[in-house]
């Protein structure tokens, strides 16, 4: 049964996942979920490592706090919050539809979830990024 399954070229793969032109909303959701997943995982491990500062005592911890007051870190944290909102709310959609709930409306659910995420994102943005 030696059929050649066509091996995907890198270009085909990139086009399939990242070309938003004339692709449906679902591809967008998938790509967003994947990117936020990677970002959040990276943050998770950084966070765990940075928490080691707590164990080193109050001086190390206060030192660490002053380091992350730098705007680059604050903005980075904001991105993490956004990623968490997007990934979490889209995750709700995936969980719902995977159990057969709301499948005919899955596109609308996605839009609603992203609107909520955007609203929360704006609120967090104001709180975090304005002095």
């Amino acid at each position: 049964m030696g059929e050649s399954l066509r091996k995907p070229t890198t270009r085909a793969w990139m086009q399939a996942w990242f070309d938003p032109r004339r692709r449906d909303l679902g591809t967008f959701a998938f790509v967003l979920n994947r990117i936020t997943a990677l970002g959040l995982t990276l943050y998770l491990f950084l966070h765990l490592i940075m928490l080691g500062n707590l164990a080193r005592g109050p001086e190390a911890y206060e030192q660490f706090l002053t380091t992350i007051e730098h705007p680059v870190f604050v903005f980075g944290e904001y991105l993490v919050v956004l990623a968490g909102l997007i990934h979490g709310f889209n995750g709700i959609r995936v969980a719902l539809t995977s159990f057969g709930i709301g499948v005919p409306y899955q596109k609308r659910i996605f839009v609603a979830m992203m609107v909520i995420a955007a609203a929360a994102g704006i609120i967090f943005g104001v709180r975090m990024l304005t002095v």
Binding site: F45, G52, L54, E62, G88, G91
Partner: protein, 126 residues
């Protein structure tokens, strides 16, 4: 026959997937609590060292945060593994990935729990 060609597939199954979805939903709920406590209860936007010790002296907290830690690590690594599975690893590579992720997971959880114990005991002592 395709069933023979595929043999016993350990890649992904009902239970792993249920674990991923379940942990995801649990994370959402605890995350809200975790976030509110860390950023809205204290004086500043971030808790001070003493506030953290006080927070963790209540035994419920390290337990909740411990559960949170376990599920986040599990969810993240299962998710990473799904991404790897999309790239068609061979059986051998998949075994290595399973091993590496398993190791990373265990180390992260043990380290995290150690941190929790340290902070909680400091809180009760001080």
């Amino acid at each position: 026959m395709l069933a023979e060609k595929s043999a016993p597939k350990t890649g992904e199954n009902t239970w792993l997937w249920l674990l991923k979805i379940g942990s995801g939903l649990l994370i959402l709920t605890i995350l809200i609590i975790h976030y509110i406590v860390n950023h809205f209860i204290g004086e500043e936007i971030l808790l001070t060292y003493d506030e953290i010790l006080r927070y963790y002296s209540n035994p419920i907290v390290p337990i909740m945060e411990g559960i949170f830690l376990i599920f986040v690590v599990v969810h993240a690594l299962l998710g990473l593994r799904s991404i790897v599975l999309d790239l068609r690893p061979t059986r051998a590579v998949l075994r290595v990935i399973n091993g590496v992720f398993g190791l990373v997971g265990v180390v992260s959880i043990v380290y995290g729990i150690w941190l929790l114990v340290v902070i909680a005991s400091r809180g009760s002592a001080g």
